[in-house]
């Protein structure tokens, strides 16, 4: 049988389903007993939910000629991270938002740039001299900031849903939820993996064990159309294992209830429905808060000139 489907995501974002046939099969073990792969949690009153996300942007590439003649790479860039706070009966609002500008150099020696037109860069260095290492460091910094904010909000009583996997949630004693939009590899054994596409909107798979610290499950957050791709509207969520299975189950049930309500709107978001409305809006807001990229680049260029003049003086 040949059948055709249409992917809702804008092609420039790639496909949310990147699992190929040549990849190894998944081997994750289910953590909870269930009849089949579909669990439909009973509707519940969700707790106030905080959606956390971050954006980052390299705004200029720098080079430093070391005394030994080696070329060390650096980058100027910025990241922002923040949250949208959703409470029943209230208009969602932007929660705390923080932005940071950094100048990151490889080779272990930080270079301080003078402030220009209100642009200031925190100087930092990493040991690696790999060409893309500074940009990676920017990404890492953003992830750490996201993790910190998620933990802080969870501590304040919010159901914290962070965009992306839980790599940087350091404290495992807070029920922070990670939300993954893109599927890179099969996690479940083939037979179970196939059944994921059978989820209905508002249903989840049973929890399965992910590594030694997380539980995870797939959730469908939107009703597919007749020509939607098989994995349309399916996201994966992660929770820490540290609280035990019961807490994990309660948390993912709650999240499964909450997410469909916030599913992204196709004409508003190129990654709908997986990119949730609060997250899509937050990304835009964060980019706005970083300011125009060209102006930041201009400031960095001036700062590099100034730095050279100061050093010469």
């Amino acid at each position: 049988m040949i059948d055709l489907y249409f992917e809702e995501w804008d092609p420039s974002y790639g496909s949310p389903y990147l699992i190929g046939d040549d990849q190894p099969d998944g081997a994750a073990v289910l953590a909870e007993a269930a009849e089949g792969m579909r669990i439909a949690p009973a509707p519940c009153d969700p707790r106030p939910t905080a959606f956390v996300d971050g954006v980052r942007r390299g705004e200029g590439l720098l080079y430093r000629q070391a005394e030994d003649g080696a070329l060390v790479r650096g980058t100027v860039g910025a990241f922002g991270c923040g949250a949208v706070l959703c409470e029943a009966g209230k208009i969602p609002v932007y929660g705390p938002i923080e932005t940071q500008r950094l100048v990151i150099f490889g080779g272990g020696i930080p270079i301080t740039l003078p402030a220009v037109d209100g642009y200031e860069w925190e100087a930092t260095a990493i040991a690696s001299t790999e060409p893309d290492a500074p940009l990676q460091e920017l990404q890492t910094r953003m992830r750490i900031a996201e993790g910190n904010l998620s933990e802080r909000l969870a501590r304040e009583g919010w159901l914290a849903v962070a965009d992306g996997p839980l790599y940087f949630i350091r404290s495992r004693d807070l029920p922070v939820v990670g939300l993954v939009k893109t599927h890179h590899r099969a996690l479940l054994p083939p037979e179970q993996h196939l059944q994921v596409a059978g989820l209905l909107c508002g249903e989840r798979t049973p929890l399965f064990v992910l590594g030694d610290d997380r539980y995870s499950c797939y959730v469908r957050i939107a009703v597919p159309g007749t020509r939607s791709s098989p994995w349309y509207g399916i996201v994966r969520i992660e929770v820490p294992q540290s609280f035990g299975l019961d807490v994990a189950r309660a948390t993912v049930d709650e999240v499964t209830c909450v997410l469909p309500r916030y599913a992204g709107i196709p004409h508003r978001d190129p990654r709908a429905p997986q990119n949730l409305q609060p997250i899509g809006a937050l990304e835009k807001q964060l980019r706005r808060r970083l300011g125009p990229s060209r102006l930041a680049g201009r400031a960095a260029r001036i700062a590099v000139d100034l730095h050279a003049t100061q050093v010469a003086a």
């Binding site: 208009i91 969602p92 932007y94 809006a281 937050l282 835009k284």
Partner: protein
């Protein structure tokens, strides 16, 4: 002491700012209304402090982040998308102090202008020629006009526009007169000449203005507070008013005059005796239709006017009447020279006696006979002469009753002289206005600016229309252009400024608008686009005032009249009430 204004927000840096306008992003807890005055201060790189004073002209709001109308639903109704509501107020700059041509600072703080700031915003510190409260704002704080732009020193005349019924043009004009003539504020500004200052007020609608000397029966405490806002603690009716009404038309010749006013029987019945009519050359105000001036009729009128004056002698023992004799008493044909001397009285037998307008018509009929070689019109085309005669005759039923014996001349003995013209035909209205205003103007030639003469007239477009020519239009254009230095100040009202002779609506220093007709609003270039649009929605009592000191027109309100502006408004005296009750009982 400066009364500090609340902070309203910061100047929007996302929109362009210039020296004339800017936008304020309002704080969440701030509320402002249109027309509120604001101030923003900045320190220039040179270290100099500059304050921008402005007025709120419009307000806008949006949910930031909402890009499509349906986003609003997701944000406000289903509450799944975040949004940030931002409200902005648009500000027109009134003043930059000190006067530096710089724009306000984006991001700069904006506060309400209170106390000294409000005074500065409204240029009160620069009103050296004295200031007169010309209304109050929404917070019942007075708005002042620079009196030197009202008394002719730096400017003069007031032009009031707005559609009939809701614009309250007459009410505002009366309020201004009241402030000038009846309040201590106004009298102080008029100075020593205040007791000789006069206002000529034409009543054009009903018998409305024939009761200005009576208190308004609906003046209550709230309305008194409005007067207090303009600094008047004891609002009262006009204190010094004379009323003149035309005689009722018709009736036998020689019968006693009957007043045309129902509600003011004791008002003086005005008119012109034939002698006054001839010697004042009032024939020129008889033919004022625009088509009268496009033909040779104007020339005939000029000739006839002079000839009448040359041949008219006072009638013995009958003051006001004249006798038209064959031989002229002056060799000159220049009107001004002819009336330079008054000839000796002659008996009735000396010629044709003129006691009324109808007698005058008989004279003209005889003297303009083309077959008579001595006829006044000389070699003018007989057709033109006949056309002239026909027109003058057509006027008889319209204004004939005003030219007769026994009527009183309108004399301005009191502060306000109300002349009723509402019951007259339009030609007669133009005649009366022309005759009286030209006299006021002539009397002031060469006597200096003070004491001032105010002339209040509604429906100016009837007297000084935008198009055409005529003695009346020329008179008003002349007053508009020269009147201020002569101390003749026009308080003119019209429904549509676009229909009034251009100098008459351009010259006035004080331009006031009430509710405007939306088809007409484009005419008012001195208003901002926002105000023009808004002025089509004004409720009665709200006006916009444009004055030379303040670069942007400022909306204002004015108090409820303390004087009757309508027959029914007048508070009855005890005596009137008693006589009314007695009449009712008698039934």
């Amino acid at each position: 002491m400066t009364d500090l204004g609340r902070r309203l927000g910061a100047i929007d840096g996302a929109a362009d700012i210039n020296t004339r306008r800017f936008s304020v992003v309002l704080d969440d807890e701030a509320t402002v209304q249109l027309d509120e005055l604001v101030v923003s201060r900045q320190t220039l790189p040179s270290g100099e402090e500059v304050a921008h004073y402005g007025i709120v002209t419009e307000q806008t709001g949006r949910i930031e982040g909402a890009e499509l109308p349906s986003d609003t639903r997701h944000i406000a109704l289903s509450q799944t998308m975040p949004g940030q509501t931002s409200r902005c107020a648009e500000i027109s700059v009134l003043r930059t102090d000190p006067e530096l041509w710089v724009a306000p600072n984006p991001g700069g703080l904006v506060e309400q202008a209170r106390g000294e700031d409000r005074d500065k915003a409204l240029f009160l510190d620069q009103m050296d020629g004295g200031r007169l409260a010309i209304g109050y704002d929404q917070e019942q704080l007075p708005i002042y006009g620079d009196f030197s732009f009202m008394n002719g020193v730096q400017g003069g005349h007031v032009s009031i526009s707005g559609i009939s019924g809701v614009a309250a043009k007459t009410s505002y004009a009366l309020f201004l007169l009241y402030m000038i003539l009846e309040t201590s504020q106004g009298r102080a500004l008029l100075g020593p000449a205040s007791t000789q200052t006069r206002a000529l007020v034409f009543n054009v609608k009903g018998e409305d203005l024939l009761h200005l000397d009576k208190p308004h029966r609906s003046l209550d405490e709230t309305r008194r507070a409005q007067w207090a806002a303009v600094g008047v603690t004891d609002p009262a009716p006009f204190g010094s008013v004379d009323f003149f009404v035309p005689p009722a038309p018709g009736g036998e010749e020689g019968e006693q005059l009957v007043s045309s006013a129902q509600s003011r029987p004791e008002a003086v019945i005005y008119g012109w005796t034939p002698e006054r009519f001839i010697r004042d050359g009032l024939l020129r105000f008889c033919l004022t239709d625009s088509d009268d001036r496009s033909t040779q009729i104007g020339f005939v009128e000029q000739v006839v006017r002079a000839e009448l004056a040359r041949h008219a002698y006072p009638l013995e023992n009958e003051p006001g009447a004249v006798v038209i004799c064959a031989e002229p008493h002056s060799k000159s044909r220049t009107f001004e020279r002819i009336i330079g001397t008054r000839p000796a009285a002659r008996p009735a037998g000396a010629g044709q006696v003129v006691r009324s307008f109808y007698d005058l018509l008989d004279v003209l009929d005889a003297r303009l006979d083309p077959d008579d070689l001595q006829n006044w019109a000389g070699r003018t085309q007989p057709g033109t002469v006949m056309a002239f005669l026909r027109r003058v005759m057509a006027l008889a039923p319209r204004l004939g009753h005003l030219i007769r014996l026994g009527v009183q001349p309108v004399e301005m003995h009191r502060a306000v002289t109300v002349v009723d013209i509402h019951s007259l035909h339009e030609s007669a209205q133009r005649f009366v206005v022309g005759a009286l205003v030209s006299r006021v103007f002539d009397e002031k030639q060469g006597t200096g600016r003070e004491p001032l003469r105010f002339v209040m007239l509604d429906e100016l477009n009837k007297y000084a229309p935008r198009d055409g020519h005529g003695p009346l239009r020329d008179l008003f254009v002349d007053i508009a252009e020269r009147g201020r230095s002569l101390g003749v100040l026009l308080i003119g009202c019209q429904q549509a400024a676009g229909r009034v002779a251009e100098p008459v609506v351009r010259q006035p220093a004080l331009k006031i608008c009430g509710r405007l007709d939306s088809t007409e609003a484009a005419e008012y270039k001195f208003l901002t686009a926002e105000l023009r649009e808004r002025a089509t929605r004004f409720l009665p009592g709200t006006m916009i005032c444009s004055q030379p000191r303040i670069s942007v027109p400022v909306p204002l309100r004015f108090p409820f009249p303390s004087y009757a502006t309508n027959t029914g408004d007048a508070q009855l005296t005890d005596q009137e009430r008693a006589s009314g009750e007695a009449a009712f009982d008698a039934l």
